[in-house]
Every structure is written in structure tokens, then in C-alpha cells.
Symmetry: C2
Subunit: 310 residues, 2 copies
Amino acid sequence: MSVAVYLPNPDRCEDWCVMLRELLPGWTIEPLDAVQDPAAVDYAVVWRPRTGDLARFANLKATVSIGAGIDHVLADTSLPQGVPIIRTVGADLTQRMREYVALHVLRHHRDMPAMLAAQARGAWFQPVVPPATGRRVGVMGLGNLGKVAATTLAALGFQVTGWARTPREVPGVEVHAGVEGLDAFLAGTEILVNLLPLTPETTGILNAGLFARLAPGAALINAARGPHLVDDDLVAALDAGQLGQATLDVFHVEPLPKDHRFWTDPRITITAHTASLIDPGTGARIIARNLHDFDRDGTVADLADAARGY
Amino acid sequence: MSVAVYLPNPDRCEDWCVMLRELLPGWTIEPLDAVQDPAAVDYAVVWRPRTGDLARFANLKATVSIGAGIDHVLADTSLPQGVPIIRTVGADLTQRMREYVALHVLRHHRDMPAMLAAQARGAWFQPVVPPATGRRVGVMGLGNLGKVAATTLAALGFQVTGWARTPREVPGVEVHAGVEGLDAFLAGTEILVNLLPLTPETTGILNAGLFARLAPGAALINAARGPHLVDDDLVAALDAGQLGQATLDVFHVEPLPKDHRFWTDPRITITAHTASLIDPGTGARIIARNLHDFDRDGTVADLADAARGY
């Protein structure tokens, strides 16, 4: 079998090729830009492919997204239709996401940004905060990652609500569904965690109208995709005090441009798309197993639904 | 019944008196410094009493520590012998401590101090860290607070070891006991959490010899008492790279003096004894119930062992 690999960073692309060659002996694994015979390529393993990259492969059997989301693949306007897309999810990635969500919800809950600011001015600062049992946290998106994040927060003692496109059961979590459930989900939410897939329906969902329905001074954590957020609306909500703080892991352009105003805003904590960073070691094992399973009989657990967008 | 209340801050002392009067109708509750007839005082409710404060009360039936530790009561060299000491513990306080420990272990685990430093210089920083399942965290002290902290960390996925004076069972936690178990406990520990009671045996236990036995670059979290730590040894271990970071909630002198070098050390995060801060609302309910139980028949769940020191 022949596999073409693409990531924007050529060094990281080479790292992934090395790992996949070890795990799939007998397969041809090469960087997409080095492919000599496009018609021979069976599979493409990609992160943020360029428009037209995949259309070159006339006999492509499946595309593998190096990540849980497939939005970066669907963004290719010349994407071959009907070719299955396989997501990359696994215990390691959900573990990393639950750590990230627990960490940043606790940081906002316990007022750490204000504590660090107090230390910087040498002030003995004892904020009055409720225990987690008196704090309402809302998780938007209850897929693989969202469900685990929500149950982790509930186990830490938080009052957790969840919001998803369709009704579902998550133990210990009060679930609201669909557009009709959004108001009840947002009302009283003091810390909002976004883990939605990026689709036309969810693009720009973190906007002024939504922020206005949260508890005053709420904190926002966006660990999904940059285009979920309307950047100007975030700054306006922080200026108005409607939001108190935000932690962002994802941005419209990544890496976040040097001159972006988010970098120096004391109300915004920036992490560099590390919430659930896939390392080639763990990620390649998941991808090799998925390719092996799919190649055997066309079935794989992590098949995405391109029409639905995730 | 007559109760004398003492806290170093007179305003906070008055707050506690107000709360306790509401919860113990018919009892006389007054600030210790306002007591006219010391022989009539049945109970003292105190945080850091001054030497001699309690010896004035010839007919004292019990002393209540406003806190889980009793070291601040035992520090009184003229403390009346044989008077029972009642600790203040409860679900609210263990909840707050588990939040604090989870937050700060996750902060060090996910390299947040370095991430914030990267943001300050506008750098897109993606540190390589293992998932929690590959990170060894050690909890010293497995009393009420330590046990809950350890099981909370295990539920988040960490490899958790615990150390206590005597052997005990904590689900999901590898427990080492006594002086003979300390080496095995410390070896490989990457994040160390101190929740020991302060006794003559544990004073100064966080010292150069102990730091040298941890994994190189380990993080220290002290949420117990300031005198557990040898301040100079901490700075030397940070300078040598033996420790990478520290988060301190407690200090030899509190509030931490304005000119203390810890304030400006970028490797040290300071919180103002807020790990498990007792608010008068919740704390007074626990204390009123304990006083009520003790006064009825001399039994109460949270009786300390003065000889043992906790």
C-alpha cells in the first residue's frame, strides 16, 4: 500500500513518516510532496492539506485526519467527494483533553489569573470563591472529548451542564440539546468550555449574543477551533465585563500572528494548540491501526461523517 | 455556655462571633479580649492564639481549632494540659483542598508557568509533556485531606504514590510508610504535594536531603504549613535545577512579609493560604455542630490527639 503524508511543517512531516514506516512494514510511506506516481497512492494522512493536494490522487481509498476534527480536510474546496475520512482519536488524546479542561476550569474557578497578578505586586490576596459544588460549568459539544471532559469536571465536584446537537445521556451532567436548549444551557453558566466540532452551523457561535446570556463575568475556554469565536466580540465582552477572563487554545490563524492583540491582553490566557496535542509516537500507533483495519475490510471505528462535518 | 473567640484579625473575629451566635442560640459568644469573667468560659474557638490566652480560662472544657491543624494551638507554651482540642474539618474544606491540589498538580504537569512566560514574550510554545498516566505524583500525608487529594489525582489519571507515618490502604494509590518507606516514595516523584500535619518530626522535612531524592527538575507544592519547608534549601534546589518549580500556600510568617524574596522568584508561585480557606459561613456551622455534640456527652468526631500533634 502507498501512503502520502502531509503536514505544513516539513520536519514534523518527516517525523510522522518515520513513525508510520516502523508501524506499517511493507507499506510505502512518503511525504506528499515527494510522491512521483499520484495514481498509486492509496491513503493520505494529513493535517491542514492545501487546496488540491488530495484531488491529485485518483485512486485514493481514504483520507486520515491527524486530529479529532475533520474541518481542516473539508476546508479543501477540491476535496474528492465520497472518499471516507478517518478521524484520529484515542485514549491518549481524550486524556490530554480532560487534563486541559480540568486545569483551565480550575484556574478560572480559583481565580488564578488574579492571584498571579497579586503576587506580581506583592499583595497577600485571599479571594472569596465558592467550592466547585457551587460553581456552574457548561460544556458545549458532547462527542468523545466533550463527554470525558464533562464527566471529569463532575467528578471534581462542579455543577456541570452540557449542550449537544441532539439529546443524549451523560452521567452526572444535565444535558440540553439543540437551538431550543441553548438558553437554558447558557443561563447561569459561570465557566463555558467549547469542544464543538467546527461546522457551518457552529462557526462564529461564540459571539456577543451568546456571551450576553452567560452569568455576568463568566470565563470562556475555547479548546475546539479558532473560527468558533468572533474575536471582536470576545474583546468587547471583556471590555464590558460581560466576560471576566478567557483561555484560548485555538485561533483563526495558527500560529497566532506576532502582532495579534490577544497576546498582550491580560484577560486572555493563550496556549499554543496544546490542549490535546498529538505526538507522532502515540498518534502514529492509532493511525497505523486504523489504516490496517480499514485496509483489511473497509471498516474502522473512527470513520467521520463528511455530510455532518465531524 | 460561654465561648471565647480569638483570631488575630479583630474584624474576622467579630464575623465569627456573629455566625456562631446565630447557630448557638442561648450561648454567650464573645471575642476573647472582651471576656470579663475568665472562670466562666467553657470553650475557646481560636486561630493562632497568643501565648497565655488559653491559660486564663481555669474551667475550659475544650479548645476548638479554626482549621484542620492544631499546631497553632500547641505552639502556646502555656497551653492548659489535658483540655481536649477539636479540629475543624468537613466536606467543604476537603473539597477546597482537592481542588487546590488538582489545580496546582495540573499546572506543573502541563508546564503552565512556562506557557505564561511564553505568552509574555509572544512565543508560540508547544512543550512536549507526557499524559498524566505517565507522570508520577507523590502525596505526603494521608489524613482526611491527603487521602482525598490522592484519590482525586488518581481519578485524573496520574500515577499516585502516598506517604504516611503508618501503613494504610488508599484505593488507586501506592502507599509507603514511615522513615523506611521514604526513599521508595521519593524516587521518581516528579510532582510532590505536602499535606502533612506539622509536628516536631515533620518540621523542616522539606529540605535539601529530601529534594535530592526526587526526580531531577521536580515540582514542589506545599499546602500544609510553612515550617515544613527550609526556605534556603528550596532556593538552593531551584538554583541547582534539582527542583524546577514550586507552589507555596503557607509560609513561616503569614502574611508573607513584603520584602521576602519568594514574592519575586519567577520559579515560585505564591497563594495566600487559600488552599482550604475556611469561610465563617461554612466553618461556623461545623464548629457549632462540634460544640453542640461535645457539650452533650463529651464525644465528637473531630477530636485531635495532642500527644501525637494532630
